[in-house]
């Protein structure tokens, strides 16, 4: 199957999923541009919120003349603010995200799902692709013509190697304030989660982490001599895998994600590991809904 056809199919599945589950945009109070969602402040919506005394500079259109008639003092009539939610989608564009067809599909499906889910909610979405110290802001239009994959694969980081792959550098991303930040990454880099989580949570950001993973990554069945080809650098690395080594690898893999889970909890960040082997809706229901990373429509 051609990549564009595969991406198109993934887009279709993401659309279908977005009809079943969505980002929990309504469950929080928003501030920002006028939109469909109730804001945290007063605004010009039809929903009455409160009264308060008039202050110089208040809009005279909102003076409650009936109350002035009864009391002789100016009372302001306050209405609920209506704003647009803001979503910053950060995509880890390292090769491991597209390592196997299953993982590529799942990455594409999640990317499409978050974009469609945000757009259908009228949210303002920015998509940032990060590969090491290289980053790219994607036009949502590139999602619809499926050219995003080629663009982010053209990113070339200047640092990192097979034994110490570069972690995505978030500092350069133009993250917006008061945004829901969705970090889509398999987290297969040796960096400390704490700085990443702290940075992505800055400026009243609300972070959610979605980590697609392969079962063969978690529990490989290696045995014997291997010429491992690094997904990032394409370098060849001969290894002999014995049961003890395989056991240590599995422990290391579990520890790696246990640390991410632990740090996410500290930052009150929903952390969902999405298996690649299941279909998208099943995987989302199984991994994301129980921790309120997503909500049913």
């Amino acid at each position: 199957m051609e990549p564009s056809m595969s991406l198109s199919a993934a887009h279709s599945r993401a659309l279908a999923a977005s009809g079943r589950v969505r980002l929990p945009l309504r469950s929080r109070v928003w501030r920002g541009q006028a939109g469909e969602f109730a804001g945290g402040g007063t605004g010009s919506s039809m929903d009455f919120q409160d009264h308060r005394a008039y202050s110089p500079g208040d809009d005279p259109r909102h003076i409650n003349w009936q109350a002035y008639a009864r009391t002789g003092s100016y009372t302001m009539k306050l209405f609920r603010e209506e704003v647009r939610p803001v979503v910053d989608l950060i995509l880890d564009a390292s090769e491991s995200m597209f390592f196997t067809p299953e993982k590529l599909n799942r990455t594409a499906e999640l990317l499409y799902f978050f974009a469609e889910s945000s757009l259908s909610a009228g949210a303002s979405i920015h998509i940032h692709a990060v590969r090491g110290d290289a980053s790219l802001t994607l036009d949502p239009a590139t999602l619809r013509n499926h050219s995003w994959l080629d663009k982010i694969r053209a990113l070339t980081p200047t640092q990192g190697d097979h034994s110490n792959p570069a972690a995505p550098e978030m500092q350069r991303l133009p993250l917006r304030a008061n945004a829901i930040r969705v970090f889509l990454s398999d987290l297969l880099f040796p960096a400390d989660p704490e700085p990443i989580l702290r940075h992505l949570g800055q400026r009243q950001g609300s972070l959610m982490i979605f980590a697609p993973f392969l079962q063969s990554e978690a529990t490989p069945d290696w045995s014997g001599n291997y010429e491992f080809i690094d997904a990032e650098s394409q370098g060849r690395h001969p290894h002999r895998i014995e049961p003890a080594i395989l056991k240590r690898y599995r422990e290391s893999y579990s520890n790696h994600f246990a640390i991410w889970k632990q740090q996410s909890n500290r930052h009150q960040t929903p952390f969902a590991r999405i298996p690649c082997e299941l279909d998208l809706i099943t995987a989302l229901y199984q991994a994301a809904l129980p921790i309120n990373a997503l909500e049913s429509v």
Partner: protein, 601 residues
């Protein structure tokens, strides 16, 4: 023991199998993205340790087992039989040149014999000399005793054909034993399946090769020949040593292969003299003992008519140590003419001619035929012309030496000993010499010299001779007297002294240089010097070290050992190992070898 040590080369199959497993066991190529997790846990299995990559497998173990079994079968192991005996007969070269390499030969023998014993439980050793008449040097089972016996052995013979001794050695050890010929000069091929052990090497040697004497200006002068047998120039000194002292050493330079002659007057007051060269590795020819030569004297009494006086004078002058005598009874040889008018013949040793001055006959016709006799050996009489003359009375016991047709021309008469006179020989010329050309015949002169020599040999009289070692000498002794032979070294030490009443007529001089005296009834009949003059033995250029001891003796191995009784089991195991390895390899080859990629960075 291993019958075929070359079979151990099959062990090279082990590295070959390992190499094949290293090279053919290609690693599975697998894209992976969790390398940082893997290498974090597996620091000791990173690249660069290729031996870690050899995974023990059934085919590997089966192939290694197969190589070991194949090696075991190829080396053909054999086990020692109990009570087996290896018989070894060693023929040592008795030639004098071996004296230089005797110790080397003993060491080689003691080194090599254990290998020849092989797996036999015991070894019986017999050591013979190549000179067949010598006693055995050693018979026994101990290498140490053999070495001690050989230490006492002193080879001094000339060049000897070892065939007889090798034949004897082979008969001693039968066809199953080993015969070794220890020499210093490699032989191309030895008979009777003897194995060669040559321990020689080229040795620089300078030595005397011989001596002659001459009378010059009334003095006796000796001339000795010195030769450099080596391949490089040599410088030596020589001196004359007598009982009174020695001369100052004189220097001598010889080119490679060069020969020179040294000479001096024989010391007038010395009996035994020796010439000495500065020593080298081969000492036998570095010393030349000499005595003043003096053959047995011979007296000649001429009882011929004046017509033959000239012949008698010539004969006296031409014969060595011969003088004229006027006493017919004491003369050793009488020269007489036969006169039919006075047919009296001499009674002792005599040469008798016919004198016929009355007639001039015709030349005799017919073929000339010489009878076989030591006196006539090799002489040519075909050009002899003889006129018919009167003839001597020939007795039936006379031995005719020369015929012309049926007429005897020369005959020999032996007169047996009587109480009054010893045995005698008489040579008759049955024609008048003057009526023939016999005086111009070389055969005539030689015949007279031979007859005179035979008379001289038969005479019991003192003589002084310069002889070579191992030289046959004819002895003429008084059979009624006790004879004593005394052998001394060149410096006068008595080496042996033997007395016997029955010394053989033919005597071989001892092999060691020195002096020899033969005395009988207080009279010294022979004073002789003995010097080594075998130039073949003194020349070491052909000597070299080689051996054929390692030539396999399959029969001896079979005799002393038995084959591995389990070789069939090993063979079946080998086949099984090969089949199992093949089966596993076949099974393995049907499995996929390239895995699908697994995830993670």
């Amino acid at each position: 023991m291993l019958t075929n040590p070359l079979g151990l080369l099959a062990l090279l199959g082990i590295p070959a199998v390992l190499a094949i497993h290293f090279l053919q066991r290609k690693s599975i190529e697998l894209p992976v993205s969790t390398l940082f997790l893997l290498e974090r846990t597996q620091r000791d299995a990173i690249s660069g340790r290729r031996f870690d990559r050899l995974i023990p497998s059934v085919p590997l173990w089966m192939q290694l087992l197969g190589v070991l079994l194949l090696t075991w079968l190829l080396v053909e192991p054999r086990y020692k039989k109990e009570n087996s005996v290896q018989r070894v007969a060693i023929v040592v070269d008795s030639s004098a040149s071996m004296s230089v390499f005797r110790d080397d030969g003993i060491k080689r023998l003691t080194d090599e014999l254990p290998a020849i014993q092989g797996l036999a439980s015991a070894m019986e050793i017999t050591v013979l000399e190549s000179a067949p008449d010598r006693p055995r040097i050693y018979t026994g089972t101990s290498l140490d005793d053999m070495a001690k016996a050989l230490k006492k052995w002193s080879p001094k013979e000339g060049m000897i054909d070892p065939t007889r001794s090798i034949r004897l050695a082979r008969s001693l050890v039968s066809s199953e034993g080993s015969v070794i010929y220890l020499t210093d000069t490699p032989a191309e091929e030895l008979p009777f399946e003897a194995r060669l052990l040559s321990v020689g090497r080229p040795v620089e040697n300078v030595g005397f090769t011989g001596i002659t004497f001459a009378n010059e200006q009334g003095a006796l002068v000796w001339r000795a020949v010195v030769k450099n047998y080596g391949k490089s120039p040599a410088t030596r000194t020589w001196k004359i040593v007598t009982a009174d002292g020695s001369t100052e050493p004189a220097s001598l330079k010889l080119a490679p292969g060069g020969i020179t002659t040294i000479q001096a007057a024989f010391p007038t007051d010395a009996k035994e003299v020796r010439l000495e060269l500065s020593p080298d590795d081969f000492p036998l020819d570095d010393c030349l003992p000499i005595v003043k030569p003096a053959p047995k004297p011979l007296t000649l009494f001429a009882a011929t008519s004046p017509a033959f006086a000239d012949l008698g004078e010539k004969l006296v002058n031409s014969l060595e140590a011969t003088s004229s005598s006027n006493d017919a009874t004491s003369a050793d040889i009488m020269l007489a003419t036969y006169d039919p008018l006075d047919p009296t013949l001499p009674v002792g040793n005599a040469i008798v001619f016919v004198e016929d001055s009355t007639a001039t006959g015709t030349y005799l016709r017919g073929g000339i035929l010489a009878e076989a006799s030591p006196l006539m050996d090799g002489l040519n009489w075909q050009s002899l012309l003889v006129r018919e003359t009167i003839q001597l009375d020939r007795q039936p016991t006379d031995q005719v030496l020369l015929w012309q047709e049926k007429r005897p021309l020369i005959f020999l008469r032996h007169l047996p000993a009587t109480e009054s006179r010893p045995a005698a020989s008489q040579l008759f010329f049955n024609f008048d010499l003057r009526l023939s050309n016999v005086e111009r015949q070389p055969a005539f002169i030689v015949l007279l010299h031979r007859f005179a020599g035979a008379v001289r040999d038969a005479k019991v009289a003192p003589a002084s001779l310069n002889l070579e070692t191992n030289q046959p000498v004819k002895l003429t002794l008084d059979p009624k007297q006790l004879a004593t032979i005394t052998q001394t070294s060149p410096d006068g030490k008595v080496l042996s002294k033997t007395s016997s009443e029955t010394l053989p007529a033919s005597f071989t001089t001892p092999p060691a240089p020195g002096f020899l005296t033969l005395s009988q009834a207080d009279e010294t009949l022979l004073s002789a010097s003995l010097h080594f003059a075998d130039t073949r033995e003194a020349d070491f250029t052909a000597c070299s070290a080689t051996d054929t001891l390692t030539e396999s003796n399959q029969a001896a191995i079979d005799r002393h050992t038995k084959e591995d009784p389990y070789w069939r089991v090993w063979f079946i195991l080998l086949i099984a190992a090969v089949l199992v390895a093949w089966k596993f390899v076949q099974t393995k080859s049907t499995e996929p070898t390239v895995a699908s990629p697994v995830g993670g960075r």
